[in-house]
Symmetry: C2
Subunit: 342 residues, 2 copies
Amino acid sequence: VNNQEVLLARRPVGRLAEADLEIVATRLPALRSGEVLVENLWQSVDPSTRLRMNATTPDGYLPPFALGEALVGMAAGRVVESRAEEFREGDAVTHMWGYRRFSVVRPGRAELGGIGELAKVDASDRPLSRYLGVLGSTGLAAWAGLTVVADLKPSDIVWVSAAAGAVGSIAAQLAKARGNVVIGSARSEPKIAYLRDVLCLDGAITYRNGRLADELKRAAPEGIDVYFDNVGGDHLEAAITPLRPHGRVAMCGTVASYSSAGTAPGPANMFQIVSKRLVLRGFRTGDFIDALPEMRAGLGQHLDDGAIECAERSFEGIGSVVHAMNSMLDGHHVGKTLCRLA
Amino acid sequence: VNNQEVLLARRPVGRLAEADLEIVATRLPALRSGEVLVENLWQSVDPSTRLRMNATTPDGYLPPFALGEALVGMAAGRVVESRAEEFREGDAVTHMWGYRRFSVVRPGRAELGGIGELAKVDASDRPLSRYLGVLGSTGLAAWAGLTVVADLKPSDIVWVSAAAGAVGSIAAQLAKARGNVVIGSARSEPKIAYLRDVLCLDGAITYRNGRLADELKRAAPEGIDVYFDNVGGDHLEAAITPLRPHGRVAMCGTVASYSSAGTAPGPANMFQIVSKRLVLRGFRTGDFIDALPEMRAGLGQHLDDGAIECAERSFEGIGSVVHAMNSMLDGHHVGKTLCRLA
């Protein structure tokens, strides 16, 4: 017995309960030819993992996890032993076979559109955890969503929802770094303060008081051109009204719906999509793996020059997964959520 | 007194009443330098004209008509007198200053994105009315919506709603002519028969029985790739579920909402836009004026080779406008709605 894995013990209803997941001790098999043994040091905690714990997932999404099986999700670690040519002991890597202390990975499988494949990263001058966040799939979601999906232009006024979250905080700062006017929204006062005082956004609005549209109008009286949607539902409706002609919506996810199977009614102002020639485009990060080197160069530069501040909240140990995920989904902290595994 | 104009006498509620419009006799002013006098022979009857009779129009749309002022809308006719260099007596033309027996038009004004500008058309071997329908803005909506907005690909399975209508019937036939599998929907049995027996679509479904999603599933069991939306509301929701990954929606208008100021709730399955990476794109025909020559060549060829049949329903006289518009919005006939003015 030399490994630990996180299993889905029962399907959660709403918030995760400790009994929904089970940490089991297992024995690592002997490494076969072509395989790599990775000690996972960081576990990425993502809303999509919670979504996959439900009995069904939306059409076109990743399938639900099976009961009694180990979860998967992006992890970063070090190669302990390699029987694959391209990897050597000590290599810093990311891969999607996380939720284990050690993972046996076979390289070359284009999981999650390639982003989940075992890949070396250069952690010589950056913390390894960055490659799960700002320089990993989180950063790629922000980068691709803003530059490709929303086709950001210099004069665009941008609204980012869940702007204190992992993806949102990078998207908001990237747009700021490019010189755009950026409004961010979040659901608590501490987060609003973070958007205003730390990220220095042009507007920071909350939606706890149910007057999102009014606050948006105050923050961006001339309207917006791009809405980076991390929330869906009422937020999307609130975005459609101030969107100016030829406005664009990059739909990254709807955090609110990850914990529930329920579906909320869509925006009542859909006709404005026609009248203002809007484009709503849903996207998944894995579709933009080709942009990974460009994203790492671009966001890496912004990290170096201080234009982007990288917030990470890490929880200690594989046993903290339930707590970490609830804290993220409850919106209790800013930035990227991680578990430190060793 | 030598002209007749159609004024908005009062704002209609729901269906048009005769008293909502007034036909007044007016005197034509003497033609000034740079102006052209057109005798209008055909009046295009469009849902957008009904929408503009409301006290407000959706943000980004054309403004409401003023009470007591003449309507405008696309018309086709002959030049009677010209004091502009580019036009001569006898020229066949289209322009947006219709709802008059005669119009005094100043060329060179890029109205409605250019499609409303006074323009010569070649009516030597085609009926002039075609330039309001299949070879006019109606055809351009179908052409641009399908080829540009929806980016139609050879293997796409296409659903066109209101497929017996002016735009829908052209869009459905164009996709058929390109070899796509095409499902059309309409709201009455005679129209279903038209889609099935005249347009020879691969599937013809109705939505009178409230089971649109089921009928769509039967007609396209493998799903669809493109939805050409002329209806909005429940139709859009019914489209999102069978849309396959990377599916596209060209949002041309929402006929149901033209007569009412009310807004219906949007689709409850919006998360699938993310999970399946769908694109919803609203468009207005005037944005695609550059494609007009290509559209006329393409659809003209299809008219000649019989791949597209062109349904027109014409009403007699300027006094038939109310009846024509109600008949169109009630869905009482197929194809393009016109009033013959002379």
